[in-house]
């Protein structure tokens, strides 16, 4: 955590040094120094910050159609963003959990969750992430994200969720 903070400070410093110079008006007769806040660069972002859904076009999860494990365009964009984070965090590993909705039998859904997690893993590998940094697990229909017996809940529960893994791959 301390190392990460130090990196953040360093990165902000470097970024400020390179960027504010060009945005500052050094040749004009106006001597005021304008100042603006920069977004924290990628290496400083925690997974939680990086995947905060309100701030980004993606989150820590992707969704699947009923009884399917193929990735749609939204899912692929999200997984590309995950791959960028992993490129910026060389020490991090992730755990990808595949989930299913309640509208399948328990054992089949464990198999389906495994297929979903693997589909995500395979795309990350295709994007250059080392296979040893990705671990997968299936929870089938055992860990729904939301309670409810309707299609809205089922849609939110048919998902693959990624998070940094402490256990290594």
């Amino acid at each position: 955590m301390k190392l990460r903070l130090a990196l953040v400070v360093l990165a902000i410093g470097l970024a400020s040094a390179s960027c504010t110079k060009s945005s500052g008006n050094s040749t004009g007769n106006n001597s005021t120094v304008r100042q603006s806040e920069l977004a924290r660069p990628l290496p400083g972002k925690t997974w939680q910050e990086y995947t905060e859904p309100s701030k980004n076009g993606y989150s820590d999860r992707v969704f699947f159609a009923y009884d399917r494990f193929d990735l749609d365009g939204d899912a692929e964009a999200t997984i590309r963003a995950w791959a960028e984070w992993l490129r910026a965090h060389r020490d991090a590993s992730i755990l990808v959990a595949g989930h299913a909705d309640d509208r399948g039998t328990r054992e089949y859904n464990l198999g389906l969750g495994a297929k979903r997690a693997t589909a995500i893993r395979d795309m990350l590998i295709a994007l250059g992430v080392n296979t040893r940094r990705i671990r997968t697990i299936s929870y089938g229909k055992e860990r729904p994200a939301v309670a409810g017996d309707d299609e809205d809940a089922y849609q939110q529960n048919r998902r693959g969720v990624a998070r940094p893994s402490t256990g290594g791959a």
Partner: protein, 443 residues
């Protein structure tokens, strides 16, 4: 059947001894039977008289035994226990010499009379007789004895004997159910393995809820359970010894193992293993630890179940694009699809009698529990629910248990007769799913 057992064994397990066997030879004429496959069947009216007893605590035991036998036989849907308030002949000591005209008068066709003794060594003994009221003939005369704390098993053994004598089928009352007990919020459900008698008595937990556990199934000896447990983010198949609580992992697999079942001889476990997203079926020999891969397909191949002779395995697979039921030889050869109707077909379980396969079906937003013959013909739907899943067979192959969940409700266990009659909730202390029925208990 009942086998005599030594009066004291080193294992100190339940001792049930046959001390009396007075069976009057049955004659062919007008045998009293319950024809359970008859579509116009009516439950057999039966009078179950509380056992005659002398001391007060014996009388209490006698009342409790009569209550369990009444619940067993009445709960089967095959018998209609007559309200004891209607009995004309009430005095226990008189009942040992039945006045059959009195019993005919209240519509009884079968009559059970008995006596209970508490012995000084702490055992309880019951002597019971089953009578054919119309002929006055004794159909069973038998004594059972056990430690007093096990009185419920005396009652269940008694019910099994009566059921067998009157239906010609073996009973299922002296059995247990292992299941998953559920508590806590839906998004963070706590699941514990639990075990109880078939009638819901003697519930106890086998795991503490720390780890997610699923799909318990009995070994043929009813002493062990194979199930799925998530240990340190590794979902793997385990075997749990019920009495010792010892847990042992089954095999050393790189991927998730799940959907386990014992082979009928108890020597193997068949299960699924998911690796690189591909779920295949494997069998592992528990003695040699050798594993054998039985399926080779990109699809999800899971929920395997052996035929009772161990020669075949039924399973479900979405290799056709949708979940359907397949049968293969136990070595993985000769795979053929047996379910050919629309809908998703899942969780096939071979009946202990071998004649039927129970399954879960999903169609048009509903779940169904049904049976079909091993060739896929003769499909019959027995039960339906918003969610209904995971049938398990009573050891006589006449009754199924499964779990259902209503929309917005929680999971609960149900049982149903193979005829589709008599669907009944099975009471548990918490929400419950994934039931598995034990074989008949020994001794």
């Amino acid at each position: 059947m009942f086998l005599p057992s030594p009066k004291s064994g080193p294992c100190r397990r339940l001792i049930l001894a046959i001390l009396l066997w007075v069976a009057v030879p049955a004659t062919a004429a007008a045998q009293l039977t319950v024809r359970i496959d008859d579509p116009n069947f009516e439950p057999l009216p039966i009078a179950i008289v509380a056992p005659q007893a002398s001391a007060g605590d014996e009388r209490a035991t006698a009342e409790r035994i009569a209550g369990v036998v009444t619940d067993d036989l009445g709960g089967s849907g095959l018998f209609r226990p007559i309200d004891p308030n209607a009995f004309v002949q009430r005095d226990g000591s008189e009942v040992l010499a039945p006045r059959f005209n009195d019993w005919k008068g209240i519509g009884a066709e079968a009559l059970i009379t008995s006596r209970v003794f508490h012995r000084t060594n702490g055992d309880v003994r019951i002597e019971f007789r089953l009578w054919d009221v119309s002929t006055g003939r004794q159909m069973i005369g038998r004594a059972l004895e056990t430690r007093r704390a096990n009185w419920r098993r005396l009652a269940h053994k008694m019910s099994d004997a009566i059921y067998r004598r009157l239906t010609g089928e073996s009973g299922y009352f002296d059995t247990r159910i292992v299941y998953v007990s559920e508590s806590g919020p839906v998004v963070n459900r706590v699941k514990r393995l639990a075990i109880m008698d078939q009638d819901g008595a003697n519930q106890r937990f086998l795991t503490n809820g720390e780890n997610l556990v699923l799909t318990p199934r009995f070994s043929p000896s009813a002493q062990e359970i194979t199930y799925l447990e998530y240990v340190g983010q590794k979902p793997r198949v385990y075997i749990l010894d019920i009495d010792s609580g010892q847990r042992e992992i089954v095999g050393d697999f790189a991927g998730m193992t799940f959907a386990p079942r014992f082979s009928p001889d108890g020597n193997k476990i068949v299960m699924s293993m998911a690796r690189d997203g591909n779920t295949e079926i494997f069998a592992m020999d528990l003695r040699t630890r050798a594993t054998e891969r039985l399926t080779r397909h990109q699809a999800i191949d899971t929920s395997p179940s052996y035929s009772p002779d161990g020669s075949k395995i039924v399973f479900d697979s979405d290799r056709s694009g949708r979940q359907k039921i397949y049968v293969m030889n136990a070595d993985g050869s000769a795979v053929r699809r047996i379910s050919n109707r629309p809908g998703r077909y899942a969780t096939p379980v071979w009946s202990p009698r071998g004649d039927l396969i129970a399954f879960t079906k999903l169609e048009e937003g509903s779940f169904f529990i049904g049976v079909m013959r091993p060739d896929g013909e003769g499909e019959r739907i027995l039960a339906q629910g918003y969610l209904a899943e995971g049938p398990t067979w009573a050891p006589n192959g006449r009754v199924l248990m499964y779990y259902k969940k209503a929309r917005g409700g929680t999971a609960q266990l149900y049982s149903i007769d193979l005829t589709g009659r008599n669907e009944r909730p099975v009471e548990t202390s918490e929400s419950a799913s994934d039931p598995a029925w034990s074989p008949l208990l020994n001794n």
